[in-house]
Symmetry: C2
Subunit: 82 residues, 2 copies
């Protein structure tokens, strides 16, 4: 079973990387950009075939390793098509 975890900075946390992208887009002539935030995307391929168990497992992974929950939010998307 495949899952995607989106990890984004919480609101209010400074995002210099996003700011740099925003400035670079402006310099390339792309107007009308009000804000850019950069996050991480992690794709995991698991043996687990039960979606609920996989979700619980992935939550543990996020809490323990993948996300810094002080400054980051995570969102787990499980691909049930397989």
């Amino acid at each position: 079973m495949k899952a995607t975890i989106n990890i984004t900075l919480k609101n209010g946390v400074l995002d210099p990387q996003g700011k740099a992208i925003e400035n670079a887009l402006g310099q390339l002539g792309f107007g009308g950009v009000n804000g850019v935030r950069q996050g991480k995307l992690i794709e995991i391929d698991l043996d687990e075939s039960d979606a609920d168990k996989a979700h619980a497992n992935l939550t543990d992974m996020c809490e323990q390793l993948l996300a810094n929950t002080v400054i980051e939010n995570y969102d787990i998307l499980i691909d049930k098509s397989e």
Copy 2:
């Protein structure tokens, strides 16, 4: 209008960061992980209210700046709820 761009490494491109996460998960005792790939997630807030124009604009941004199309794929998701 808000949009999210998912940037992932193409298949076959080595992903040492994903490999490091996979190893770290193993060391923490998470079994049954067959593979991990790490990508980027970029959230952009645009003035543009027309979804088609926004999509075209975002495609240009990806081609010119956001993604390295030699080794990365990008996927543009436009949030039409606003």
